[in-house]
Assembly symmetry: C2
Homo-oligomer: 203 residues x 2
DNA sequence: CGTCCGATATATCGAGTCGATACATCGAAG
DNA sequence: CTTCGATGTATCGACTCGATATATCGGACG
């Protein structure tokens, strides 16, 4: 679902890889950081699919600056530099923008009930872009999440009850803490769902 | 760190893959479930490293039962069945036990400060086996975790403060909820650390 | 002035995990 | 007797991760 995150950020602003990584760590919460080993391949996939494309970097001023370096470089290297210069700013930046296909893909990914839902990260990510969803789809997202947490809670309680003797103190404490955390998650979701219904009713 | 989980469970009881997966979902909390696509390769790695080995399945009674199926099968297939039968019970189960090398590997993995710490799953897993750690190592584990959460909390607060206007309602609510959850995690850890120090002082 | 260092920036690699899928056997329900 | 769901082992391709390589930029420091 990294594609969804990238497209969501590029919807708001053109960015290059490095900056994209920083935003992913901030805007989407420090929980979901991404490595370059995922990010760059993902950008290439999206570019190959025509969902994003490299835009002119370093657009204003400075025009065609500073190729000198050390006067002469080998022909090979110079040609390589020239090729890079076409879509890159002075610093070697590759700035990406979202295309119409990318917009469509974003909608699709956001609305889809992927197999990787149920994953905490996935839900948090989708919630961060929930403003792009129609109200009913948003409610569906919240309620699917709630159902997952209720299920998790049931399994946690079962595990605590079943293993009340076999579990050591550390595991038991962890389970109890997880149970409370899950209960709070559900309460929080209930609040969101309630808000959502009120908004809906008001329309 | 799946290896650690497997070895930890096999320490207590000999198990086969399918059962192992179920235990991982129960004993270690429903948060950390594992797929077969990870489990079986991991078992093969451990077996290749001599950390676990397949033990005699279906040990008592029934001796050499029920090969018939449908009277005759092709020589190829029969030979395959015979090979399997050596380390497998009637149902094709492959039961694994931990070796001395496995015990050593377990200690090593549990004590190591892996790069994949900081990951929530990793900590939960190690905590589940914390009873095998000496008291000081246990304290170190808890305090490293606490430091990570404090750091996460700081970044969460920064993100909320920085993006107070740019963040939409859903993201903001998620951040605030995450902040509270992290605060509770830290309080919980403080309780564990306090208990740990009391135990230590009592010895 | 140079030169060294840390932040910026892109990229690839191997290892590990995942969900999907295939295949086979067993027990029970119909 | 047959079908069906649970048990059970296994592999595949896609994806992510941490580590690492490479290069440029801006500023600190002598």
């Amino acid at each position: 679902m990294l594609e969804l995150a990238i497209l969501g950020l590029l919807k708001e602003q053109e960015l290059h890889g490095y900056e994209l990584k920083k935003r992913l760590g901030e805007a989407l919460g420090p929980l979901s950081s991404v490595s370059f080993g995922s990010l760059y391949p993902a950008l290439n996939r999206l570019e190959a699919a025509g969902a994003v494309k490299a835009v002119e970097a370093n657009p204003g001023g400075v025009g065609a600056p500073a190729v000198p370096m050390t006067g002469s470089l080998g022909g090979e290297l110079a040609a390589y530099r020239a090729r890079r210069a076409a879509t890159r700013g002075s610093r070697g930046k590759k700035v990406y923008g979202i295309t119409d296909r990318g917009q469509a893909l974003f909608e699709e990914l956001l609305a889809a009930e992927s197999a990787t839902d149920g994953d905490d990260k996935s839900f948090n990510l989708k919630l961060a872009f929930a403003r792009y969803l129609p109200s009913d789809a948003r409610l569906g997202l919240l309620e699917r999440r709630r159902a997952q947490l209720v299920d998790r809670l049931a399994r946690l309680r079962t595990a605590v009850r079943t293993g009340r003797e076999r579990l050591d103190d550390y595991s038991r404490s962890l389970m109890e803490h997880s149970t409370e955390a899950t209960e709070r998650d559900i309460s929080w979701l209930d609040k969101l769902i309630q808000n959502e219904r009120q908004e809906e009713g008001r329309t």
